[in-house]
Amino acid sequence: MLIEKNIQRQTLTLNLQGELDMNTSETLRQAIDTEIERRGIRTVILNLEEVSFIDSSGLGVILGRYKKLLPMGGKMIITNVPSHIYKIMELSGLPRIIEFENTPSRKMEGREK
């Protein structure tokens, strides 16, 4: 897992690359928590365009960061999710909780209605 960080004011954008599982999600957790605590980050944007794999460990770390931001008045946006990753996320219910942008999701949801 490669993590590319970008900070502008109180917004942290992370471009993730590789596999998000129990072996790599801890790195992601630390990367986000450090910025929330040290720099007072309130908006976290996760760009998953280059993520090739996700399982419940990866999903858990994402949901965990969302739950941490919420009581601080912060928010999380997940962008550019590849469709096979989105399918796993959908099963977990995450798209009903966290805001998604530019994912195949919107289109797919539209088509299903």
Binding site: M22, N23, S56, S57, K87, I88, L91
Partner: protein, 144 residues
């Protein structure tokens, strides 16, 4: 079964990815669709992660066995650890149930969603075995 592969490996977190590669190369041989391969990778990832995280409490020098068997009709996957075991299997398999507040309790949900059959055998202090079956007859493009 026509083909059998059994991989026994140390409970290091990095080996989860190797176990996924193994199922992916078996699935490629079976000519499965990419979406089925993705699902099988999730299934293996969940079962092996459970053995490491729950079964062995992240102890890194314990053995995990992944057995893969298949013929034209079905693919059978077994994941076994000699860890702490599950006291109440029915409760453990409930969606969203987890003994770890940081986790989502979705491992068994994914295994159940992506496989046609899921059996869990477990004895406290002896270990856990997860046996899963995927029927192949309807999902493989017939070639003959």
């Amino acid at each position: 079964m026509k083909n059998q592969l059994e991989l026994t490996f140390t409970s290091l977190p990095g080996n989860v990815g190797i176990a996924r590669m193994l199922i992916a190369s078996v699935a490629a041989q079976l000519d499965l669709a990419l979406s089925d391969i993705e699902e099988l990778k999730v299934v293996i990832s969940e079962a092996v992660s459970n053995s490491i995280i729950h079964g062995y409490k992240n102890k890194e020098d314990m053995p995990i066995t992944l057995r893969i068997e298949y013929d034209e009709k079905k693919l059978k996957i077994l994941v076994r650890d000699q860890g702490c075991g599950i006291p109440d299997i029915e409760q453990a398999m409930q969606p969203a149930y987890s003994t770890d507040p940081e986790r989502m309790g979705l491992g068994f949900v994914f295994m159940q969603s992506f496989m046609d059959d899921l059996q869990v055998e477990s004895t406290v202090n002896e270990g856990t075995t997860v046996i899963m079956v995927k029927e192949l007859e309807n999902i493989r493009p017939s070639k003959h």
